[in-house]
Each structure stands twice: as structure tokens, then as C-alpha cells.
Symmetry: C2
Subunit: 307 residues, 2 copies
């Protein structure tokens, strides 16, 4: 992996499917390139908003290969590699390191709930040690609203102590600023890279020592979010923060992943982008029409997206 | 799959690992045979208590092959095949049908929470239709305390209407008798097989039209639980119910899966059985000693287990 750490706005890239529900590598590569050309400094492929846990291990490996072969620089990539089964996490992580990815974003095993910190600690350490590669940069993925398995401050501290070079940062998708603040206060000064889990907390995160955000809406609104990232120390920052939060609020009235896909489908002129894998449900055409209307009323655009 | 439906006591068979955390097929086959010889009428391998979601798809396939090759009759098997990724569920389910298993026990995709019934409906139907085999008997696995994705009565009804021969029953691990009762009242009379999720509700389940239970403690106490199943209509039933519940209560003071493994390790004289995959944590030797002491005080035994 690279020595330069990722910072700025990363998108957990939505994954396109064919009507038969197969992953569509061509569309995926095109969307990733669009994102890098329009504000994303990195791509957190295979995140929650990527429907990554609806993909098999082989599908993720094939898509990652397609990205690199399609010219997406691996040093922009932070694939999600945390699975319920230890050997799956090891396999995906080792593959990402081999391809030269900047890092990996790792969920804890998320089936069992209420597991002790000792077990979570061992989960992460077993992956690190079985991969056994000094190039690995591991970002912890804290998303209790979905995974229902939180990562405590004590666990983060213990992991950093055991593998200080490898355990590089965190994405905090708790939606709870108090938690992000606590992580920043405890670890940011010593070089632990804290990404806010959405642009809602981007400005606060930057003001307290964070390095950016990894956000669903980075899939459709990367330019405006990156603008705040670049100008967070200017007098316009609060206005920019309010602006991107208002755009997010429009999307968030609907289930986020189908809403992102419907938005891309519209602006790319490509209805197949609507497709989601079960258990998610695509927006109806009526929902899509209303969503796009409301976004357009805000002056929202996705330039250069149409094929 | 067979035309005879499974009934009685099924164990979600614990999965043995080597000290290096690899699945141990030899021990697995031996434990499965012991269970069938000592009260289990079926084996719900790859359940929650099997650490199934800590296994890769390939590991599950290899273990199931080992069971059948090791002489375990496939008509006793109800493997868990529900994964987060649709193609994984399809692959495991098709493999189970091919081997002649009595049925499969299917979790919903469990990463995303709060998904609509429409999405869950489509998840199950896609598996059924992609497997496309009239021999498939699918048992729904309702375990909201762990999966955090409940299966509603309306969903069950819709699935039965769409695939009446295939959707054969349910394991209700809600731990909520009112829910089990509602499922029984709605569907049992029309041939839907309801298994209680533990022996705590076995007698009540039988009295209201259920067909048995699939229970963690079936791994260690199958004889006594099967005795209640065989004699549930006798005057001794309530006493037997109290007795098996009391044994369960001893185990339940500790995390269940490590406690089951520690119990088998002791009675088999085989300390490697203690091993769990992360994120679970094995009992300490002291915890094991106290657990076995308390079980022995109740007269608990696991006959014929030592190798």
C-alpha cells in the first residue's frame, strides 16, 4: 500500500447491477472514474452504500480487479474487506494489499451481537497477522446503526497499541457527533485518521482534527462536498456546510441506496442503474421523478455523467 | 429432498475448529453421529450456534460433503444456507438439495436493518426460483435478537402463497412465546411446521400444533429433550419440561456457544473442542470447571462421547 494517506472526500461507491442482478463492472469503472474527476479523492468501494455485503467474495475480487485494470489508481482505493467469516476478511484484505490499495475499511464480524471487546480485538488482529504485510493500512468501520456491533474507544486504543503502523484510522458512521469527537480527542493528534461517516459532520470533523469524510452522497454530490473540504478554514465554510447538508436531506427522505442509484440513473440517462439487490427495493419511477424534481429545484447537477 | 418432514429435536450442531481455527471435519462427523444416536432426529448444521456465519461458503460446502461421505443420512440434515449475498444463499441451497438434505434453514439477508417486507420476500423468492428444484424444503429462520431482521406474519403468508410446497416451516428463535403462538395459530393447521427456537418452549409448542424444537442445548442434552418430545402428552411432561429448562439455565449463565463447546470438550476428553472463531471468546478453564461441576451436580452426563 502507499505511504501517502488518503484524505478528503471518499465515496462508498454504489455498485451497479444488470437486470439479472449481476454486478456490472463496466458501469462500475465508469462511475469510479467520474467520481475521481469530480471531487472524490478516494473511493471506499464495497461499503454499506455499495451493497457490499450483498456481494460474494469473488464478486468483490473481480470488481476490484476490473477497477485497477480499468485505470483507476489503486492508491485512491479503500475497499471494504470486513466480513463475518475470518478467512473471507483475510482473503479480501490480502488481495487489496496485493493490488496496491491505499487501505482497507474493515467492518467487525457483524452477525453475533454483544460480543466482548476481546473477541473483536482478536478478529482484527487475526486478519492483520494472517495478511502479514507491512503495507496494510487498516481503517476501522464503526457503524452501529447497521452492523449493530460498535467499536469502543478502548478497543481502538488496544488495536493501535498492538499494530500502530497498520491501524491507520476510522470511519465513524455512528451518526453521533459526541462519539466522533471522543475519537478525535483521544487519537487524532497522534496520527489516527478520522473520517466522518457523512458530510453532515465534515466541517466539525475538520475543525477538531479529522481528515475528511466518507459519505454516501459523495456518489452524486462530490464536487460541493470537496469544495467544503478544500475551504473549511474560510468564512464561507458554514454556508457551504449548510448547503451540502440541505442536498443530503432531500436524498435522505428516501432509502439512501435506492435514492442514490435513482439519481445516477436519471443523470446518466441509464435506467438500469436503478437496480438494487434484495433485500433492498428500488425506487419506483414516481419516487425517482419527485426526487429529481426536488434536486433540480436546488440547482443540483451531475455534469458529464451521461454516457 | 425427502418427502418425510423432519420433526422432533434438532441440534444446531456446534462446529469444531483446530487450534489454527480451521474447521475440523473429523470431529464434526463424530459429533453429528453422536447426536443422532442420542436423541436428535435431525441436524440443523450451520445455524447460529454452529458459528456458521463465521464460516466461508466453501467451508460449509466441504463440511456438508464430509458429513454425507461420513455416513450421516442426508434426510436428517437441515443446513443453514441463508447469507447476506444472494448468490451465496443460492449456491449453498442448491448444494444442499443436490445432496438430498431434508430441508434448509434460511436466515434473511442480515446486514441491512429495517428493510421492507417486499425486499425480504424477493430475497427468499429469488433463492427458491434460482435453485429451481421441486425437492427444496425451505424453513424460515426468525431470530431477531441476533439477525435483527424479523420475519413478519404477513411475509410468511405471502411466501407460503407463492411457494406452498417449498416454504415448509419455521424456526422461531424470537424467544417470545407470543410470536410463536401467533405463527402456530395462523399456519400450523395448514401444514406449516413450527419448530420452537429452544427447548424452553418445546412443550407449549407441541401443545399448540408445533413439530419440535431446534435448540442449542440439543448439542449436549439431546436425550432428555427428546424424551419430552416423545412423551409430551403424558402426565410427566411438565416435570420433564422443568427439568430440561433447569439444565439449560446452567449453561445459559455463560455465553452459550463457548459453554456448549466447553461441555463437549470436557465430556469428550478433548480440549481442542473449546476453540471458537473470533469474534467469540472461549471459556477459561476455570469457567469450564465450574460449569461442569454445576452440570454434574444435576446428574448431567454425555454418555459414549469420549473418543
Amino acid at each position: 500500500m502507499t505511504t501517502t494517506r488518503l484524505t478528503g472526500v471518499l465515496a462508498p461507491v454504489i455498485t451497479p447491477f444488470t437486470p439479472d442482478l449481476a454486478p456490472d463492472a463496466g458501469r462500475f469503472v465508469r462511475h469510479c472514474r467520474w467520481l475521481l474527476d469530480h471531487g472524490c479523492r478516494g473511493l471506499a468501494v464495497f461499503g454499506t452504500n455499495s451493497e457490499a455485503n450483498s456481494l460474494t467474495v469473488e464478486e468483490r475480487i473481480d470488481l476490484l480487479e476490473a477497477l485497477v485494470q480499468g485505470g483507476v489508481p489503486p492508491e485512491t482505493l479503500m475497499p471494504g474487506t470486513g466480513c463475518c467469516a475470518l478467512p473471507d476478511s483475510v482473503r479480501l484484505t490480502a488481495h487489496a494489499v496485493k493490488l496496491g490499495c491505499a487501505g482497507v475499511l474493515m467492518l467487525p464480524p457483524f452477525y453475533y451481537k454483544g460480543v466482548p471487546d476481546d473477541g473483536l480485538y482478536r478478529s482484527f488482529v487475526e486478519v492483520i497477522e494472517r495478511v502479514g504485510d507491512a503495507r496494510l493500512r487498516l481503517y476501522l468501520y464503526h457503524i452501529p446503526p447497521v452492523a449493530q456491533v460498535p467499536l469502543s474507544l478502548a478497543l481502538i486504543e488496544r488495536l493501535r497499541r498492538a499494530h500502530p503502523r497498520t491501524v491507520a484510522g476510522i470511519k465513524d458512521s455512528s451518526g453521533d457527533w459526541a462519539n466522533t469527537k471522543a475519537v478525535l480527542d483521544a487519537f487524532a493528534a497522534s496520527g489516527f485518521d478520522v473520517f466522518a461517516g457523512s458530510e453532515v459532520f465534515l466541517l466539525q470533523n475538520m475543525r477538531h482534527g479529522g481528515v475528511g469524510c466518507i459519505t454516501a452522497t459523495g456518489n452524486v454530490n462530490p464536487g460541493a462536498i470537496d469544495r467544503l473540504y478544500r475551504h473549511w478554514e474560510t468564512p464561507e465554510a458554514d454556508r457551504m456546510q449548510a448547503e451540502i447538508a440541505a442536498t443530503r436531506a432531500v436524498l435522505q427522505k428516501l432509502p439512501m441506496i435506492p435514492a442514490l442509484k435513482a439519481t445516477v440513473a436519471h443523470f446518466a440517462g441509464d435506467p438500469d442503474w436503478m437496480t438494487v439487490r434484495p433485500p433492498l427495493v428500488a425506487l419506483t419511477r414516481d419516487q425517482q421523478t419527485l426526487l429529481v424534481q426536488e434536486l433540480r429545484q436546488r440547482g443540483f447537477q451531475m455534469p458529464d455523467l451521461a454516457a
